[in-house]
């Protein structure tokens, strides 16, 4: 067994275990784990089953089979990157909607607070003319205008 094969098996096997462990700890959602699991399984199968890798290499016109493994790994990485770009686009769209909703909600809360405080002032004013007026009259009586 060639050294490259051992390394390939170790890396893809290790990745597979890492992904499973991350899902187990609820750090990685199943939705995003599936593509990773599929990719690492594919690479693991190709590195374990050298016959399949050899026929794939000759089909691709690659004379050195481990290079074919690199080609497959590169393709897998490309697919994963597109997948993440899609996920990020989706998230930023949702984030935009959240920010807009929050801004509108904040405005509504502010308007309602202002409305409440004008209501409270109105109540105060209703009592105020009597109280204030009476007190002003008292002051005038106590300190006659010069």
């Amino acid at each position: 067994m060639g050294t490259q094969r051992i390394i390939a098996i170790a890396i893809s096997g290790g990745m597979l275990l890492l992904i499973l462990e991350l899902v187990r700890r609820k750090r990685l959602m199943e939705r995003y784990a599936l593509l990773w699991l599929f990719s690492t399984l594919l690479l693991l199968v190709l590195s374990l089953w050298s016959g399949l890798l050899n026929s794939l290499a000759s089909a691709l016109g690659v004379s050195y089979p481990p290079s074919a493994l690199f080609a497959v790994a590169f393709g897998v990485v490309l697919v994963l990157l597109v997948h993440f770009s899609l996920a990020v686009s989706h998230l930023s769209d949702q984030n935009k909607v959240l920010a807009q909703r929050l801004g509108i909600l904040q405005r509504q809360v502010q308007e309602q607070n202002e409305h409440l405080s004008t209501l409270a002032q109105g109540d105060a004013l209703k009592d105020a003319p009597l109280g204030e007026g009476a007190r002003a009259r008292d002051r005038e009586q106590l300190t006659p205008t010069s």
Binding site: L20, V23, R24, R25, K26, M29, E30, R31, A33, L34, L37, Q94, V97, L98, R101
Partner: protein, 249 residues
């Protein structure tokens, strides 16, 4: 305010939501109704409001798991003792709420009661043949793992008590949550059971599981079930009050 809450997740169910809310009011007057409008683009929210429900509008579609968990969060914050999930599409008959409640309250060790369409032979709508095969597979798996007979693990007609509300408010599966929710109850050593119900064909809208998604559904849920086996203890965030057998008793 009542002590019981009916959680109605609805995504573009304008055609059925009025009847659903009115039926809950009629057949289960002890239940407050909260409709979680999961980013609908039709008149679901306004129709639910005029039918007399409290409506929480999500700013975008979260999927059934996120919508239902919103309901459990609401139930937790408002101190409801019992919460029942009723789909907004008219599949679930609110006449069974009384039976679910009687079953839940008859046994104080019970934390969740599910309405199963397969316990009684021959009546009601039982979905397509292919979907029944999928349900059968999950039923077998869940029965094997929990060690008790589960016939309808994908049923969304379920009622939980306070402990279940607190658990689900904190942690609820994202996509296609029903099967995983049963296993979560089991992992937390909470007890659940089934009672027979008849379900109706949906009146409007489309199922969350469209024709193109069953493969993703099967793989995702199987993966979740498989990995769930290797979670030795319930995953509880730091600072949370752990839910365990003591609380259940």
């Amino acid at each position: 305010m009542n002590r019981y809450l009916a959680i109605v997740p609805a995504h573009n169910e304008a055609g059925a939501i009025t009847d659903t809310v009115e039926e809950i009011h009629r057949f289960a007057p002890d239940f407050d109704v909260i409709v979680i409008d999961d980013g609908s683009t039709d008149a679901t929210a306004s129709r639910a409001e005029s039918a007399g429900a409290t409506v929480v509008r999500l700013p975008f579609n979260l999927g059934i798991g996120g919508a239902v968990q919103t309901g459990y969060l609401y139930a937790q914050e408002h101190g409801y003792e019992v919460a029942v999930q009723i789909d907004g599409d008219g599949q679930h008959d609110p006449r069974y709420i009384g039976e679910l409640l009687a079953c839940l309250q008859a046994d104080s060790a019970l934390n969740m009661v599910t309405g199963s369409r397969f316990l009684r032979q021959g009546d009601g709508h039982r979905s397509s043949a292919t979907r029944r095969v999928g349900i059968r597979i999950f039923a077998g798996l869940v029965s094997l793992i929990t060690g008790r007979r589960v016939t309808d693990p994908t049923s969304g007609l379920r009622m939980t008590g306070r402990v279940g509300i607190e658990l689900f408010a904190r942690d609820y599966p994202h996509d296609y949550p029903e099967v995983e929710a049963i296993l979560m109850m089991h992992a937390h050593r909470l007890n659940s059971c089934e009672i027979p119900v008849a379900m109706r064909p949906r009146r409007s809208g489309v199922s969350a599981i469209s024709s193109t998604q069953p493969i993703y559904y099967m793989i995702k849920v199987l993966l979740a079930v498989f990995i769930g086996l290797f979670r030795s203890s319930p995953v509880v965030e730091q600072g949370d009050t752990p839910v365990n057998a003591e609380h259940a008793i």
